[in-house]
């Protein structure tokens, strides 16, 4: 799928490109509360009951107590691989775990609980190609697991290109 022709129909021996990051099904679906974490790739923000939350793209959700917004404090991190979206109502957090819609009970932020999972409700979150156009990439091998992100690095003999 989308493994398009290269610009010159030839493959460079060594080039700056993207390599898929794989997760097994068990790794992907391991949702848990952790202590505060540093940012890696900060994403969408959310406001809920005096707190703010920020997605760390494909890794999880930072929980920040901002009831005193002049002194906000990270208080927890919810590990949700493949996540990009967030919405909260009445103590339930809705997010995407890759392409699945999941709902978490966050009434105890230090011990979140998965309440439900609807598989493939959010297919746009699929990461079968790199996030940026115009790069070579290591072709996806789905036998290695689900792609949950991409690393940019020097790659050898890539056979895929995203125009």
């Amino acid at each position: 799928m989308m493994q398009a022709c290269t610009p010159e129909n030839s493959y460079p021996a060594s080039v700056e490109g993207y390599v898929p990051i794989y997760a097994t099904d068990a790794e992907l679906k391991e949702i848990k509360s952790l202590g505060p974490q540093d940012y890696v790739n900060p994403g969408k923000i959310y406001s809920y009951a005096g707190n703010s939350l920020q997605v760390d793209v494909n890794r999880g959700i930072h929980v920040i107590n901002s009831s005193d917004p002049s002194n906000p404090q990270k208080v927890a991190f919810i590990q949700v691989k493949g996540c990009s979206e967030i919405s909260i109502k009445d103590g339930a957090l809705y997010t995407n775990n890759n392409t699945d819609l999941i709902a978490l009970d966050i009434t105890d932020i230090n011990n979140v609980v998965v309440k439900s999972r609807i598989e493939d409700a959010f297919p746009i979150a699929t990461m079968l190609v790199p996030p940026v156009n115009g790069f070579y990439y290591e072709c996806v091998d789905e036998s290695k697991g689900t792609v949950i992100g991409w690393n940019k690095q020097t790659i050898q003999n890539p056979k895929c290109y995203l125009p």
Partner: protein, 249 residues
């Protein structure tokens, strides 16, 4: 009976304390949260969760928190990017149009109108009278257009373009009364006076590398999404925000 009353009176402060405690994370209480203008998920007070996924709008009943029940999937159009709920309507932004759906039946959003515009990536916010939509170009977005459009949406079935203002590379935006905050990448947050929708004015530009904002309802708080973290501004004087804090690690 009297004994019962006394017990209730004795218990009341505990209930009050419980309510106050609910604002503390660690024991999160009820209510509906609020996302930025680039959200693809949104929840409403009517206990519905809406998600936009490329070209479809899905609705889920969330009367039982944490247990979404699928209700409907509607084909909206191509390249849907964001949705913004406002008082019984959904404003939906795609890369070449703004759609308005009413939620008279929240399970099945109903088409009101579609306004086409030049291609670009484009979140939207509204106060119910006017809708503000930014369009930014770039190779993923299919154009080099960068502007802020204002539409009169008093007639949901027929929005009217009021004005277009040139921007550098606008992303997310937020509205407080007649003040609009536009994240114009490379420049900062443009603080705009929109009292006259025909002639929106940039009053000041905050040197803040933000890509989206949330104007938190019923507060004077502006929360900003940055590529390196999050920041907070006091907007008790809406046209003159003052920075409170940031977290960037």
């Amino acid at each position: 009976m009297r004994k019962l009353s006394i017990i209730i009176l004795l218990l009341l402060p505990i209930f009050w304390m419980a309510c106050e405690k609910s604002n503390d994370i660690g024991n999160v209480g009820g209510g509906t949260g609020q996302g930025g203008s680039t959200a693809r998920f949104t929840v409403t007070d009517d206990n519905y969760l809406y998600i936009v996924d490329g070209q479809n709008l899905k609705s889920y009943d969330i009367s039982t928190p944490g247990i979404p029940v699928f209700k409907n999937e509607a084909l909206i159009g191509r390249n849907i990017e964001a949705l913004f709920p406002f008082e019984g309507n959904l404003f939906i932004a795609s890369n070449n149009a703004m759609y308005i759906y009413n939620l008279n039946n929240p399970a099945i959003p109903e088409f009101e109108s579609r306004v086409q515009h030049l291609t670009g990536c484009d979140p939207v916010v509204t106060d119910g009278t006017f809708a503000y939509l930014t369009i930014h170009g770039g190779n993923r977005c299919g154009s080099e257009i960068n502007e802020l459009n204002v539409y009169n949406v008093t007639n949901l079935a027929n929005p009217q373009l009021i004005s277009s203002t040139s921007m550098t590379s606008p992303y997310g935006l937020g509205l407080k009364g007649k003040t609009l905050y536009v994240c114009d990448r490379g420049e900062g947050i443009k603080v705009m006076d929109v009292s006259d929708p025909n002639n929106v004015l940039t009053v000041t530009t905050l040197a803040e590398p933000a890509t989206d904002v949330i104007v938190v309802n019923n507060t004077n708080l502006l929360i900003c999404k940055r590529d390196d973290g999050i920041s907070y501004f006091d907007i008790s004087t809406p046209l003159a925000p003052s920075k409170l804090a940031e977290i960037v690690q």
